[in-house]
């Protein structure tokens, strides 16, 4: 590790109307280290990094890069200073090739033409040096998410970044891909790059971080070497109180089958078959977790179940009744609750009040509607009682849902869906982007539902969540369930292997072709695109 300070932010304060997002924050990042920035959603870490990347201007405070005071007036200035940002949601042009994406906006030119030869040479040199293997001539569409992330990293390196900011980089990756990413990050620091890692996952910080700065409610709580800390300590600093990682739950007592799928097939918008004969069962009193790499048909499965997508063949039975291709309303009326993946796009009408959102599924029935007229006072009374019961933090039920924090928005959805007393509760990524407190709340509610004899179907990309909550895990790969596992008898390695299309081993002896076991670089070549 080299000596010296790569980034120093002194006394950064940034106010937004109503809140102080950053309150006198000090951040010091040493050259060549992996510095983790830990905090809950809304703690202010993204704001801080957006200031460093020039997207916001601080109201107070100074920034030093390599010891020199700088004014970062915009992203271009940040890039000129050698700062690169790898966003959580990739900023890639899908139909373009890897090479075109990397050079986009900084193309080497020969006259008025782009000098692809020169560009290619430079990209290959970079990818070799840092172990970032990609095929420069494939289009973004054709490559895996892990590969796309490498393209993002190469983009910043191509622009001469020495300081790389990773914003929640592991959210979309499989366990194997995460290990590879960590290897890449190590390699980058060995080659003299400095990394700032924004995350709320303690495991990753423990695995790869050198030092960690913890931010809570816009203030720095502490900055300490990772080696001298423990996950428990970090978690309590992040949240401000002790947190339990283990979700307390009793033994499941599964009852009759509520949902049954037999050989279901369905196509996506382009007419490509994405569900290829999927069979599945969910019983009363159990949580069935669906694990899988994004884009293996989970989204389509959920849409078919909720009536938003037509299945082409197969049977879907709810308590023994065929519900295939019924309308969303009809399915919801058959006691199916649904917590959608994208709460802002699908779950809520953000410009509607909390009260209106709480009746979004049953506004049309008595007591909320009588003779085609809305009964606003009853809608408000209903809202007031749910707001109390679910501890939804909102000034009142007339406040637009847009004004609520992510966790409270999700509580509105959970309250609405659970209040409908469903037999089957479908939860897709129910805790995405939520802080620890809200995650605990949602998890507790899901287990409560299970214990009260509901069938719960949980789909999440967070493997820990699946492992912790599920009573059975169904692994999905390319539109099929490729294995049903008992979470007490399996581990990430086995699930990860199934998720990436590897065969489940009968007894043992599969260790030989388990990817990611040793040399990380080639693992996803054999795994993800197998």
């Amino acid at each position: 590790m080299q000596s010296g300070t790569a980034v120093e932010m002194r006394g950064i304060t940034k106010r937004f109307p109503g809140i102080v997002a950053n309150d006198n924050i000090h951040l010091q990042v040493r050259k060549g280290e992996i510095h983790a920035l830990l905090g809950e959603n809304g703690a202010g870490k993204t704001t801080l990094m957006n200031i460093l990347f020039g997207l916001y201007q601080p109201d107070e405070g100074e920034i030093f890069i390599n010891g020199r005071k700088v004014e970062i007036t915009g992203p271009q200035k940040a890039i000129d200073l050698g700062i690169g940002m790898i966003h959580q949601h990739f900023m890639l042009v899908e139909p373009y090739t890897v090479l075109q994406n990397i050079i986009l906006g900084a193309e080497p030119r020969r006259g008025i033409l782009i000098d692809y030869k020169k560009a290619l040479a430079r990209v290959l040199e970079l990818s070799d040096k840092y172990g970032l293997h990609v095929d420069p001539h494939r289009t973004i569409r054709e490559i895996s998410v892990g590969m796309q992330q490498r393209v993002e990293i190469l983009k910043t390196l191509y622009r001469g970044a020495d300081i790389l900011i990773f914003d929640e980089p592991t959210a979309v990756l499989t366990p194997q891909e995460i290990r590879e990413l960590m290897a890449i990050m190590r390699r980058l620091t060995e080659e003299g790059k400095t990394i700032i890692l924004i995350t709320h996952k303690l495991k990753e910080i423990m695995a790869i971080g050198d030092r960690v700065t913890i931010i809570r409610r816009g203030r720095v709580v502490d900055c300490l070497p990772v080696r001298e800390s423990s996950p428990e300590e970090l978690a309590s600093m992040m949240v401000g109180r002790n947190v339990s990682f283990v979700v307390g739950k009793k033994e499941a007592r599964p009852g009759e089958t509520i949902l049954e799928l037999k050989d279901v097939t369905a196509c996506d918008e382009r007419g490509v078959q994405v569900l290829k004969g999927l069979s599945l069962e969910v019983r009363r009193g159990e949580i069935l977790g669906i694990a899988g790499v994004e884009g293996n048909g989970q989204q389509e499965l959920i849409e078919v179940l909720t009536g938003l997508r037509k299945a082409s063949s197969g049977e879907i039975l709810l308590r023994g009744r065929l519900i295939r291709n019924e309308s969303p309303r009809r399915i919801a009326e058959s006691k199916v609750g649904y917590i959608p993946e994208d709460r802002q796009k699908r779950g809520l009408v953000l410009d509607f009040s909390v009260g209106e959102n709480l009746v979004l599924k049953n506004y049309y029935e008595p007591p909320y509607t009588e003779r085609c007229l809305l009964r606003h006072n009853r809608i408000h009374a209903h809202a007031a009682s749910l707001i109390g019961e679910y501890d939804i933090r909102t000034p009142d039920e007339r406040t637009p849902a847009r004004a609520l924090s992510g966790g409270n928005q999700q509580k509105v959805i959970v309250a609405r869906e659970v209040a409908g007393d469903p037999d089957l509760l479908i939860a897709t990524q129910p805790t995405r982007g939520l802080d620890v407190g809200a995650i605990e709340f949602i998890h507790r509610k899901l287990i409560e539902q299970r214990d009260s004899g509901k069938a719960v179907l949980l789909y999440s990309l967070e493997l820990d969540e699946i492992m912790n909550l599920s009573d059975r895990i169904a692994v999905m790969y390319e539109g099929r369930i490729v294995g049903i596992l008992d979470p007490r008898k399996t581990d990430e390695q086995e699930i990860g292997l199934l998720m990436s299309g590897g065969r489940a081993s009968g007894g043992g002896g599969s260790a030989g072709h388990a990817p990611g076991g040793g040399a990380g670089d080639h693992a996803d070549e054999s795994g993800v695109r197998a």
């Binding site: 969303p328 809520l348 009408v349 979004l360 809305l374």
Partner: protein
């Protein structure tokens, strides 16, 4: 009541008001640049619009159609649709009313409602076609409404020529007096101005607009789809049929507006070589009125006063009438670029705060 006042004077109406002021001020700057006296110009504009009973009646006559088309555009907006076709729906309503008024004979208490219902259906169906094409075939409503405007223009002319024509003139025969929305008493009260009872229908429809959107189940669905069709679909609302219904109601507003022009102002339908322009101005009215019932009425008053009073500017201060279009355009520009105005308002407020 308190809430209503607050809503009218709250943040949402501040932007349009500031935009109007900026528009008028910039208009004044342009007048100064042209060596005209802006104070005299605006003064004579107001005198023309409100100076005597005749002009007041004519101003109200000018405002009336803007309310109808403003409501049409605003209603579609609330349901997530951009209705550029109020123009065509307006024409279809007008020709339907003209046909009922010319071809049928009956007592006024049947004739007027029948003509209005016919125009509502004509305008509504003309709008519903757009909703259907969007729902069933995914055609964007901006494309279809623009095309249907032209079809409406020429179809209406065809109907007038074929079935209603007054020989030797480029217009239909007079509608029977039993279908008139103007009465001699009202006309005399306003010194022979062409004011008619359509203004009352417009105000009633504004109330209906508010009632449907905020008090009914169907209105809940319109607004939900308008804000977020994805979440609406997840909540079990049939988004496609909502589009069709919303466009029907939107077209209905414009269609009745067309009928009121025929039944109240002209008492015949002309063969149009170009659009009367009320539909397009409806977009501006809805924009200025922020798609609310009260806002649309106020927006229509503004546009009506400016366009009618403009002739007074020429008379009183020698300012070319066309300049008022620049002022209207500026107002619309600043309402549309509300972010810009918000920035100004906030600046101003912050400065005030630091001063105190």
């Amino acid at each position: 009541m308190n809430g209503l006042v607050r809503r009218m004077l709250g943040e949402s109406s501040l932007i349009p008001i500031v935009s109007i002021v900026i528009g008028l001020l910039l208009g004044a700057v342009i007048m100064l640049a042209g060596n005209y006296d802006p104070i005299a110009a605006y003064g004579s504009l107001l005198t023309r619009a409100f100076g005597d009973m005749y002009n007041l009646g004519e101003t109200i006559r000018q405002i009336t159609p803007y309310i109808f088309t403003g409501l049409a555009v605003a209603f579609a907006f609330r349901s997530g649709l951009f209705n550029i076709g109020a123009e065509g729906q307006f024409i279809m309503g007008a020709v339907a009313a003209a046909a009922v008024g010319v071809l049928l004979e009956m007592p006024w208490y049947l004739h007027i409602p029948l003509a209005l219902v016919a125009s509502a259906l004509a305008g509504g169906l003309w709008g519903a076609v757009v909703g259907y094409l969007k729902a069933a075939r995914g055609v964007h409503e901006v494309i279809t409404t623009i095309m249907l405007n032209w079809i409406a223009l020429h179809l209406a002319n065809y109907i007038v020529r074929g079935a209603l024509l007054e020989k030797g003139l480029a217009r239909s025969r007079y509608i029977h007096e039993s279908a008139w929305l103007s009465t001699s008493g009202l006309t005399e009260l306003f010194d022979n101005a062409r004011i008619h009872y359509g203004i009352l229908i417009a105000l009633a429809l504004s109330a209906l607009f508010y009632f449907v959107l905020w008090k009914t189940r169907q209105g809940f669905e319109f607004r939900a789809v308008g804000f977020n069709p994805d979440a609406s679909e997840y909540a079990g609302i049939n988004v496609k049929s909502t589009f069709v219904k919303a466009m029907f109601i939107s077209g209905l507003f414009a269609g009745v507006g067309g009928a009121c022009e025929v039944m109240g102002v002209f008492h015949y339908q002309t063969i149009n070589s170009a659009f009367p322009g009320y539909g397009l101005m409806g977009i501006a009215v809805a924009l200025i009125g922020r798609n609310s019932a009260v806002g649309v009425v106020l927006g229509a008053v503004l546009i009506g006063v400016l366009t009618y009073g403009a002739s007074g500017m020429k008379f009183g201060a020698g300012v070319p009438e066309e300049l008022i279009n620049v002022v209207i355009a500026l107002v619309i520009f600043f309402v549309a670029a509300s972010g810009l105005v918000e920035l100004l308002v906030r600046r101003f407020r912050n400065r005030n705060r630091t001063v105190h």
